[in-house]
């Protein structure tokens, strides 16, 4: 049982404040949907949790099981169990999915650190998860998450369609086995079939030892992934939290009323 706690988080980029006092708690076994209009700062929240160096934290804290992660680099946060699925995963030509994932998995599961402790750096590949074991697991998960086996050899996101990118993000999540997964608009730009595949992947990974933050603009994906909580994000903070009924309300009423109710006069001083 783990807890990711965001406390009064103020953050932004180059002096501009984007997050203005975010309070949010994620727990293992829970799916928490974060819904809000475009430009409300939802993606920024994902980046700040994952440790994007462009963003500065001005105030507040992010605690993973009571320990602040603010001083950790992005890779250390990933090793600690945080995973961010990107809205727009970048293409990295020349780097195959398998090669990249083997390095990533080896770091996250401690092969690399153990090799260093054992002074085993001399042998090529000694710091990586054994190839056979890795391939076996990768193949099994590619099958389970509907990723064509040919993707192992393809260059990461290079020439992938929108749906292929999002599916590969889910595959990466499955391989890295995070405690908390933040999915940034994993539903955007997908047709209904691709959306089902991605939603199906999330549901398979939604085990009692893992928590999710599902950042989305639309209610659509919530027809396939059932959230325990839904929060409304507006103007850099969480303005309302409730159960799945909140999502239904947003679908019926849109975001207009949010601005009326939590607009300029409602901003914290």
């Amino acid at each position: 049982m783990s807890v990711l706690e965001i406390r009064n988080l103020h953050a932004g980029v180059e002096g501009a404040k984007i997050l203005k006092g975010v309070n949010l708690t994620l727990r293992s076994g829970e799916i928490h949907a974060l819904m809000g209009p475009n430009g409300s700062g939802k993606s920024t929240l994902g980046y700040v949790i994952a440790g994007h160096p462009h963003y500065q934290v001005y105030d507040g804290d992010i605690l993973l099981d009571g320990e602040s992660i603010l001083d950790m680099e992005a890779d250390e946060r990933t090793k600690a169990g945080i995973f961010l699925a990107f809205q727009y995963p970048v293409a990295v030509p020349g780097v195959s999915v398998a090669n990249f994932l083997r390095t990533a998995v080896s770091n996250v599961r401690g092969y690399t650190d153990r090799a260093r402790e054992n002074g085993n750096n001399g042998t090529i590949g000694s710091n990586l998860m054994p190839m056979r074991e890795f391939r076996r697991e990768l193949n099994a998960k590619m099958k389970e998450f509907n990723v064509d086996p040919s993707f192992a050899r393809r260059y990461l996101n290079d020439g992938f369609s929108g749906g292929e990118k999002k599916r590969t993000e889910v595959l990466q999540m499955a391989m890295l086995e995070p405690k908390f997964a933040i999915l940034d608009e994993s539903d955007s730009g997908l047709d209904i079939d691709a959306l089902r595949v991605v939603a199906d992947g999330i549901n398979k990974l939604a085990t009692p030892d893992r928590g999710f933050l599902l950042i989305t603009h639309y209610q659509r994906i919530l027809n396939y992934v059932k959230p325990d909580y839904v929060s409304i994000f507006y103007n850099g903070r969480v303005v309302q939290t409730g159960g799945p009924e909140v999502a239904h309300m947003l679908e019926e009423r849109g975001y207009g009323w949010v601005e009326e109710e939590f607009g300029a006069e409602a901003q914290p001083a």
């Binding site: 160096p53 680099e73 020349g94 990533a104 996250v108």
Partner: protein
């Protein structure tokens, strides 16, 4: 005895002049025709002007600080003495590659050779050019700097023709196939000396061969090399020029491939080393159906300056040429890529590509890229593209968000960038070697 004679000759060599050219010829016991060729080239050299900053080819690559008088005109060759004559680096290079035959040169001459196949029985000639001048004069006279690269091409080819020293002569007869690579290694061991490496490859109709030129050493030296590839009708040639000179070498290279009907060439040009490199590389499609690929990688660091100027000439219809040069740059390094696809009248159905990508790793580094097209036929498909990108935080962050350290992420992005060329390097041991150099260059 002969060694003493050579030493005496060297004493008399004090600068770049006609006597030096004569000494270079005498020390190799050359026939008169070669001495004549050298002397004619020397006169051309003397008549030609040095490149000026206003010359299009030299606008971005200046010879500031370059002075012939700073170099010993040529080095004294080592003595062939079996494997004992080789240093660790050369031994390693030999051991890493499974080759049909190898020749190692040091300074001005051959130092070691071995073969795992009986090439002579197939009619293949693979020997040092000095020996070829004596043993195969008709072939060498026909091809050596007569049609593919001429002495008058530029100032450095004239100098090269006057003073050429090391390099292999490779002749593959009709329909003969040599499967394993032929390996040529040059180690310019003497510091501050001039070197003039020549590669002359003649692939007759239907021949198949792979040749690797490995260029090392050259501290504080001058290297002016020439590569001539005669790619016969229906022949298949794979050529790799792996330049890894000391970072103090002034390096000039002029290379050209003359491509016959339905011939197939892949030329891999690697420019790791040197203080400054100016390389002119041409593919010339002389007859129908030729397929030529010119692929280059470079990775200057520190204050290295690497300049490739390429020309894809399509004289005949229905030819394909593909050029890809990818470079990464660190520190205050500077690279120049200039390229032209030239399609002459009548070369219809030409299919030609040219791409240059640059990955800039430090803000002090600079990459100039000047692609160009000159098309005089109306039914052709030609494209060119140049890109310059930085290893952006977005890429690094994406990989770090998957658990890679910053160093691992940067390394993977740079290696990935070179992969498009490495994927097309046909010799596995060369790929491994190039990957190791890339690793080393990323690390510092």
């Amino acid at each position: 005895m002969s060694v003493i004679v050579k030493e005496k000759l060297m004493e008399s060599v004090t600068g770049f002049n006609e006597d030096t050219v004569r000494a270079a010829s005498t020390s190799k016991n050359e026939p008169a025709w070669m001495l004549d060729l050298r002397l004619r080239a020397w006169r051309m050299f003397e008549e030609m002007e040095w490149p000026k900053a206003t010359d299009e080819s030299w606008r971005r690559t200046r010879l500031t600080g370059f002075d012939l008088e700073n170099f010993q005109p040529f080095a004294t060759p080592g003595v062939e003495n079996g494997r004992a004559a080789l240093n660790d680096v050369m031994t390693h290079e030999l051991d890493e590659m499974e080759s049909a035959a190898s020749i190692v040169f040091q300074d001005g001459g051959p130092l070691y050779r071995d073969a795992s196949e009986d090439l002579a029985s197939k009619g293949v000639i693979f020997t040092d050019l000095q020996t070829a001048v004596r043993e195969h004069p008709e072939l060498v006279r026909k091809h050596f700097m007569t049609t593919v690269v001429k002495p008058e091409s530029n100032k450095f080819t004239a100098l090269h023709a006057a003073l050429w020293d090391t390099g292999a002569f490779i002749y593959i007869p009709r329909n003969v196939r040599v499967e394993l690579p032929l390996q040529v290694i040059l180690n310019q061991a003497t510091a501050g000396a001039g070197g003039y490496h020549h590669t002359l490859l003649v692939a007759e109709e239907g021949a198949e061969v792979t040749v690797v030129d490995d260029l090392l050493g050259g501290k504080d030296g001058l290297q002016s090399s020439v590569v001539e590839l005669v790619v016969g009708d229906n022949s298949v040639v794979r050529y790799m020029n792996l330049q890894d000179f000391d970072h103090s070498t002034w390096n000039f290279l002029t290379g050209r491939a003359a491509m016959g009907r339905n011939s197939d060439l892949r030329w891999i040009q690697v420019s790791w080393g040197s203080r400054l490199t100016k390389a002119f590389l041409d593919l010339e499609m002389l007859d129908e159906g030729g397929h030529g690929e010119l692929l280059g990688i470079y990775f200057p660091t520190g204050r290295q300056h690497i300049d490739h100027e390429t020309l894809q000439v399509h004289r005949a219809p229905h030819c394909f040429s593909d050029l890809l040069f990818n470079g990464a740059l660190k520190d205050k390094a500077h690279s120049v890529y200039m390229g032209i696809i030239q399609v002459l009248p009548g070369a219809q159905k030409t299919d030609a590509f040219q791409r240059n990508g640059n990955l800039i790793l430090d803000s002090g580094a600079r990459a100039d890229s000047i692609p160009g097209l000159e098309i005089e036929a109306d039914d052709v498909r030609c494209t060119h593209a140049a890109t310059a990108a930085q290893v952006e935080d977005e890429y690094v962050f994406y990989l770090m968000a998957r658990g890679l350290t910053r160093a691992q992420a940067e390394r993977m992005i740079v290696q990935g960038f070179f992969q498009a060329v490495l994927d097309r390097v046909p010799v596995e041991s060369v790929v491994t070697k190039l990957e190791r150099v890339i690793e080393r260059k990323i690390g510092g």
